[in-house]
């Protein structure tokens, strides 16, 4: 089990954004999360690597509660060092790429292996170049993010996350800030990745969901309404709310 969420609740002040979310993600699963804006998809993803705190429930990643440890039946927030160590095993790809603008593509990729893992320079450079080649950007190693297209930036961001050899990858709408002609190149990279790494992907790319995912969750108002295979969910949705939502996004 790579991720196990158990009755996770999260409030932003008075706003109850995650309501009893329970979820299990096995090794090599590719789980898609879809749902209307504001339903809590991003928030849930951010709880999985403890960028957001949860108010109750627990999330295990690779068998360890993320961000907390249990002492006398109570959840106590972990020390920063332990949280950082857990996050190093979880890759995250953001809607707006969030590449480091003062570093080249290659520097972006090798920064964490070099400073967090403290691996030797020649090794991280070799790994970094391999990853760049893998996302089809070998010749862009010396380019700064401002010199790359959106699609290229997102591919560098994926390579940056992969450089830490994560056991889990989180994608938060990785293609929704991209021009349409660049979506394909990013999805292709993700499809290939789907064979070898566990992924949770927030995205409304149905083609990707059908081709690469083995489970789709529909979230609405902070709850998981439906959880099944892509074909089942898209072709035979069980819940009324899922049907309504799908009819909106499928036109």
């Amino acid at each position: 089990m790579v991720v196990k969420a158990d009755k996770v609740n999260k409030w932003f002040g008075p706003l109850h954004v995650l309501k009893d979310i329970s979820l299990e993600v096995r090794k090599n699963d590719v789980v898609m999360i879809i749902g209307p804006s504001g339903s809590g998809k991003s928030t849930f993803l951010r709880c999985v690597n403890h960028l957001e705190k949860i108010n109750s429930g627990i999330i295990y990643v690779n068998g360890h509660p993320i961000g907390y440890h249990v002492r006398e039946d109570r959840l106590i927030e972990d020390r920063e060092k332990n949280i950082a160590r857990q996050r190093a095993e979880i890759g995250m790809v953001f809607q707006r790429f969030n590449l480091f603008p003062h570093m080249t593509a290659l520097e972006n990729i090798i920064e964490a292996p070099l400073r967090v893992r403290r691996l030797p320079m020649d090794q991280v450079v070799a790994d970094g170049e391999r990853l760049l080649a893998r996302v089809g950007l070998a010749e862009k190693r010396g380019s700064y993010p401002s010199q790359l297209s959106g699609g290229q930036q997102q591919r560098v961001a994926i390579a940056r996350a992969l450089a830490m050899k994560p056991s889990l990858m989180l994608f938060d709408e990785p293609t929704s800030a991209l021009d349409p002609e660049m979506i394909g190149e990013v999805l292709d990279v993700m499809k290939e990745l789907a064979h070898e790494v566990t992924m949770i992907v927030v995205s409304h790319e149905m083609g990707f969901a059908r081709a690469a995912s083995n489970r789709v969750l529909f979230m609405d108002e902070g709850r998981i309404i439906e959880n099944s295979t892509p074909d089942q969910l898209f072709d035979h949705p069980q819940e009324e709310r899922t049907k309504q939502f799908l009819s909106k996004i499928l036109h």
């Binding site: 969030n98 964490a112 190693r141 940056r160």
Partner: protein, 258 residues
């Protein structure tokens, strides 16, 4: 009618003759050195106070808030006198003269520079904080998601980007600093203005001598303004096409390195 003494005016303006006077020679050196030192320490204190103010740990925030509140809310002149005479007379700290490589750094210079630095830190704190807050929060999140600690993310990701925002106002602070060192005269620290003040005590030519002093300050701030605009131009340039980074200089493999 006042008789303007051109001989004195030129003697204490022209560096060849003015700097023969040890009070002015050492005063000029002290002013430049103290400005740089006080500014450097001020930046570090400002960074510490900015991080303190943004800390999750409440006592750090209180300390930073108190520091900024006190040193921005009281006059520098009073801070200087309090630090030098206050600590001296109570023998909490006497600021003994320091002798290094044949130079004597008198207590008043030490206390004055320290007061300038501490005062500067309270102003730099807001500048540094604004610089850090100008950076997209997504940068910190990306750094954290890669397993970086807060400190590492600050040092490697946030501060290098914030530096570009901080440098222009920092330049203005330094411009002010060079002029503000003259306040050290009140505690008889031998800086540039004190030098002219002493010479005037002997010659009583205040118009000529303080005009000369003004020219020296003007020369320093003008040279600095020139340097500052060069620094800012190079920062602006790098937004478009960046200068090769240390990494590129080491590996020389980038098409951009030249």
């Amino acid at each position: 009618m006042y008789h303007f003494d051109w001989a004195i005016f030129w003697q204490y303006l022209w560096p060849g003759t003015a700097l023969q006077n040890p009070l002015i020679r050492y005063g000029l050196i002290a002013t430049i050195t103290c400005s740089i030192l006080a500014q450097a320490v001020g930046v570090l204190l400002g960074l510490a106070a900015a991080l303190g103010k943004m800390s999750k740990f409440a006592p750090f925030r209180w300390i930073a808030d108190f520091y900024i509140w006190w040193f921005r809310g009281t006059p520098l002149l009073v801070q200087m006198v309090l630090l030098y005479y206050g600590l001296g007379v109570t023998h909490i700290f006497d600021f003994p003269d320091i002798h290094i490589i044949g130079i004597t750094i008198i207590g008043a210079i030490q206390a004055g520079t320290l007061a300038l630095a501490i005062n500067e830190g309270a102003y730099m704190a807001e500048i540094v904080r604004a610089g850090i807050e100008a950076i997209d929060p997504g940068q910190m999140e990306a750094a954290k998601s890669l397993g970086m600690s807060y400190g590492l993310a600050m040092r490697r990701i946030i501060l290098p980007q914030a530096a570009k925002v901080i440098i222009p106002p920092l330049g203005n602070e330094f411009n002010n600093m060079m002029k503000t060192t003259s306040l050290m005269t009140i505690i008889s620290a031998t800086e540039l203005f004190f030098g002219y003040y002493q010479v005037n005590g002997r010659l009583f030519k205040p118009f000529e001598l303080f005009l000369d002093a003004s020219f020296y300050y003007l020369a320093m701030t003008t040279v600095w303004t020139f340097i500052q605009s060069r620094i800012e131009a190079s920062l602006g340039e790098r937004k478009q096409v960046r200068a090769p980074s240390t990494f590129q200089r080491i590996f020389r493999s980038s098409p951009m390195a030249h």
